[in-house]
């Protein structure tokens, strides 16, 4: 255990320690990932006093998540693995706002990350950290998006990659990860079964499984989506942020990001309400919120079209619950039908093609506006975290809307008027 002293032996980097989220014990920032006393997760603590980061400095940097590198847990910048993740568009969405009866709505479009999802953010940080810590191979447990993100960054780093996925994972995501050269281990069972096997594997093999045994560093990458929103909206806080929740790690990262930007004086306060969105068929965090409990009871067999959110035993569930309550926000869930409608609405009004997790964000936002929990005058930023190309199965009903004709103008006329 160490006290509040800056780590020694590094030329750069501002990580002070890893701190237990339950008992508060602190550890040197090495390969440790769970508290040795109570097994609770650890989080990265920064030496904020030595960070000098200002708006001008950030403004002139590369348009990737690494523009905020002082608030990422990397000491050796030579080891950074960058395939261009981050600094994705934040666009005002007037047509969607009108459809949802809101005045001011922005979409943070993370579908345009290099592998098509926000997971490039934590994967970029984690694979960089794996190199820095001297690991010779990386991997992850994944519902699909992280598999591709980790595999792509591993490819760039020249490291072997092992991904553990549940056997029902969408084909596009599996093939994408395989194309980057990863070894795909498809586990017969749920995501939680795959995750447990990966946890056992991290004990047996010298692999950095990014969301398992280097998780404290990994989750830090997701903060950058919130840093960007604050910067893009004019160095201030939005009133509401809608975040899809699987493990709850993204929502926790957003909350930590806002607190850290406040801590170093880049924004004022943390007054954003966090809205956690889950699919009904796997909504342990939203159900805990609605039933006003402190505990998150796991779901044994998740059943939802939003497979990227089908995590029955959410690792950050209780922390996401606390962050939502602390921010005076809400958690809500949407049915599969509402999710698909949400995806279609987003595509048809704003030209953004999202996977079902994006439909979950839209559907939950729609519900909360209808319920009066979010008023028409409130400003909302909605996170769209993964591309529709990854879940083409969901759009298969559109195949029947294709009109095939002979190449002549009479047939064209018939087709258009038909």
């Amino acid at each position: 255990m160490i006290s509040h002293t800056k780590s020694v032996g590094f030329e750069k980097g501002y990580v002070k320690s890893l701190k237990c989220r339950e008992c508060g014990r602190e550890y040197p920032p090495t390969k440790i990932y769970a508290c040795e006393h109570c097994f609770a997760p650890l989080e990265v603590i920064y030496d904020f006093d030595s960070i000098t980061l200002n708006k001008d400095l950030i403004k002139n940097r590369e348009k990737t998540l690494w523009r905020y590198r002082e608030l990422l847990p990397i000491n050796d910048y030579e080891k950074i693995v960058d395939i261009g993740a981050g600094f994705t568009p934040l666009k005002e969405c007037k047509r969607l706002a009108e459809a949802l009866n809101l005045k001011k709505l922005y979409v943070k479009n993370d579908t345009v990350n290099p592998t098509g999802s926000f997971k490039d953010r934590p994967a970029s940080v984690a694979v960089s950290k794996a190199l820095e810590l001297g690991f010779r191979a990386v991997g992850c447990a994944s519902t699909g998006n992280l598999a591709a993100a980790t595999a792509a960054h591993a490819a760039k780093a020249g490291l072997p990659c092992y991904v553990f996925i549940p056997s029902g994972t969408e084909k596009g995501k599996v093939l994408q990860a395989a194309a980057y050269g990863a070894k795909i281990i498809s586990v017969k069972g749920t995501y939680d079964d795959a995750n447990r096997l990966a946890a056992q594997a991290s004990d047996e093999y010298e692999w950095a499984l990014v969301n398992i045994n280097i998780r404290p560093y990994y989750v830090e990458g997701s903060k950058t989506i919130a840093f960007e929103v604050c910067e893009q909206i004019g160095w201030r806080l939005p009133e509401n942020i809608v975040v899809p929740m699987g493990s709850g790690a993204l929502l926790c990262a957003v909350w930590r990001a806002l607190k850290q930007f406040d801590e170093i004086g880049l924004i004022d306060g943390t007054g954003t309400k966090l809205i956690g969105a889950q699919p009904e068929g796997c909504s342990p965090i939203a159900k805990a919120f609605k039933s006003k409990t402190e505990e998150v009871f796991p779901v044994e067999k998740p059943k939802t079209v939003a497979k990227s959110l089908a995590i029955g035993d959410p690792g950050d569930g209780i922390y996401a619950l606390r962050a939502i309550r602390e921010s005076k926000g809400f958690a809500e869930y949407a049915t599969d039908e509402e999710i698909v409608e949400g995806m279609k609405l987003l595509a048809k009004t704003e030209g953004i093609f999202a996977e079902p997790a994006g439909g979950v964000s839209i559907a939950v936002l729609k519900k909360l506006v209808e319920q009066g929990e979010i008023s028409r005058d409130e400003e909302v930023v909605c996170f769209i975290t993964g591309s529709g190309f990854k879940s083409l199965e969901v759009f298969s009903s559109y195949a029947s809307s294709v009109i095939e004709i002979q190449p002549d103008s009479d047939h064209l006329k018939d087709a258009i008027s038909g």
């Binding site: 990932y33 769970a34 609770a40 946890a199 056992q200 398992i212 493990s247 009871f297 796991p298 044994e300």
Partner: protein, 92 residues
């Protein structure tokens, strides 16, 4: 009462010095008691919190099934059943 195979991962196995062991028990609660008896106070402090409840961040499985979906510490065990104790790690 049956001979139950117990596998320990992460820091749990660092305390016990072994990753697998066998205990005679008919419920999961009896397995934990037997392990505490064998490995002592240090092990007890790792698996139980200050209120003597199993710690939230250790997941326990019987034959691959999370005991939260069985009967928790009351879960009945038979000869050759496999108990797995793994620190709960995030995922997602």
């Amino acid at each position: 009462m049956g001979k139950v195979n117990v596998a320990l991962f992460g820091n749990l196995s660092k305390i016990t010095g072994e990753k697998t062991t066998f205990v005679d028990a008919s419920t999961l609660g009896e397995v934990l008691n037997a392990l505490v008896e064998r490995y002592g106070e240090a092990f007890r402090n790792r698996i139980y919190d200050e209120n003597n409840r199993p710690r939230r961040f250790i997941n326990i499985y019987v034959n691959g099934k999370d005991v939260r979906f069985l009967n928790g510490l009351e879960t009945k065990l038979n000869d050759s059943d496999k108990v797995l104790m793994v620190p709960a790690v995030g995922g997602g």
